[in-house]
């Protein structure tokens, strides 16, 4: 049965689909990139001539990627856009515009859609991204948010996963292993840091850490056909004020936890030294190891022992 039968023409949203869309339209404002915004069959964007387009998409599902008993709707909206901006940053790109589709649970609080969009629009404004359009519907299931971001490579980009070379240093922004407490809802995508890394001229490969350091490093190594050696002592672990809630060490969290959304970069060794000495935007930048010929990851433990680090770090305890 099609959704829009004569007896249920709207999607059953609190306040109505059109009411929310009108609120979003007013809240969004104008953007120089958007020639046709919300309210026609499609959005139209001015496009920087001769530049290719980068496209990233991520879908967040309630009780899979967030829990509304612990996350505010604004945080969900923030995260839904931020994960995509992190992907664009990891490509050495500049985000330009976003479209969002949302399935709102029937019977949810009437301002859920507004609060979610409020978080999303706030981050869009902070990062100069145009919210160009969207789609809102109802669902009998959990809240679902899908965001697509369109951007363009920075001068010197794009930076793929496949460009790492033996001898490259492995640099990581910020701290790892902090996602589970709160960071995964509040993180700032590393767009500005990406600009600095690309402008350094020595950036060969990059990825954002969404599946965990071990898993995402393996993605780079597989794509590049190389291996890596990491120094456990150099991996930037939890921020001092982040509580440890389980028996696992900060190193285990840093290596295996997902959703840190920091950048992992393979960089020419001479340029890497300069970057670490004067990191872009003042964000901590750690040299955690190097790219080596071969395949797989060796982890040099603080006591000097060398252990293999599998792609799914969580399958082994690392103590």
């Amino acid at each position: 049965m099609p959704a829009r039968t004569p007896s249920s023409p709207t999607t059953g949203l609190p306040g109505g689909e059109f009411g929310l869309i009108e609120w979003i339209r007013q809240r969004t404002g104008s953007h120089p990139l958007v020639d046709v915004g919300i309210g026609d069959d499609a959005a139209m964007l001015s496009w920087p001539t001769t530049h290719p387009a980068l496209v990233a998409v991520d879908m967040l599902v309630e009780n899979v990627h967030f829990d509304l008993s612990r996350a505010k709707p604004e945080q969900v909206g923030h995260k839904a856009l931020a994960v995509n901006l992190s992907d664009i940053a990891a490509m050495g790109g500049q985000p330009l515009a976003a479209v969002v589709s949302v399935a709102l649970p029937r019977g949810s609080q009437h301002d859920l859609g507004q609060r979610l969009h409020d978080g999303l629009i706030t981050l869009a404004e902070q990062t100069g991204v145009a919210l160009a359009g969207g789609d809102t519907t109802a669902t009998d299931g959990p809240l679902v948010v899908s965001v697509t971001v369109i951007g363009t490579p920075l001068e010197g980009g794009p930076i793929l996963r496949s460009g790492a070379r033996p001898g490259d240093r492995l640099l990581v922004t910020g701290y790892l292993g902090n996602s589970r407490e709160r960071h995964h809802l509040d993180f700032t995508p590393r767009l500005a840091e990406s600009v600095g890394l690309v402008e350094s001229g020595g950036l060969h490969a990059m990825i954002d850490i969404s599946d965990g350091l071990a898993a995402d490093l393996h993605h780079v190594l597989t794509a590049s056909g190389v291996g890596a050696r990491l120094n456990a002592s150099d991996i930037p672990t939890r921020e001092p004020d982040t509580p440890v809630r389980d028996g696992r060490t900060p190193l285990a969290h840093a290596v295996a936890d997902g959703e840190d959304f920091e950048l992992l970069a393979a960089v020419d060794p001479r340029v890497a030294e300069e970057l670490v000495a004067a990191p872009p935007c003042g964000t901590p930048l750690s040299d955690i190891g190097e790219i080596v010929p071969g395949s797989g990851v060796e982890l040099v433990m603080p006591n000097g022992h060398i252990v293999p680090l599998p792609p799914l770090g969580y399958e082994h305890r690392i103590d």
Copy 2:
């Protein structure tokens, strides 16, 4: 709690998220527009220089937009892309690339994701659209599919909702009121017909009929600041072989049912006559009325009586 904790790093998909993505990658093949496809943080598309970008997004939710007891997964994938292609057609645009995000119910048949993508990729191939990337996750709720299509206006486009002028003829492709039986799952988006309408040079405004003729016509009228007069006898109703399952007349279905996904166009009267005489692609094209000054819709019934047609046609019986 973030989704990817050490104890549940994958999304719990049957066969695994990475297994499905690898299947999609192999099934998709290469496309001249796609410089970087599935398998990096974002896709990269070559972009036709100096052309703006059109962006459309639509989300389909199980039991809202389709029923898996009546629709094959391939049909759901087809529809998820087709509704967006219909939006691009309604803008007078050419679709170039699509990205898709899917939330697959835990415990669903292991080939649901593959079959859904199979329907989507088949339509993409038929229409020359690049499937550039996507995201797949699990859900505790119903199946959700969100597709974003990026395109560019045809020469002579874009065609907005806001360009209708008094004296324009209102043309509609195909037949209306056929969505509920099956059409909403199988329809062919009117991309080729859109090209013909744009190339006619007399096309002033256009929309695809997704909410119903009455509702979508009102969208055009509101955006254009005009009214319309429709001739009931000229509205193309059900195809002869489509059964009538309820007591409502074919006209009532044609005016009020959603999801016909035909094009409704406001066209210069002289050009309209030529178009109707030689419709693009041989698809039936009906002249159903005209744009008039003022606002709202008057419906001229077969007996000559004139009745107002509200935006939500289903609120009145039209017999």
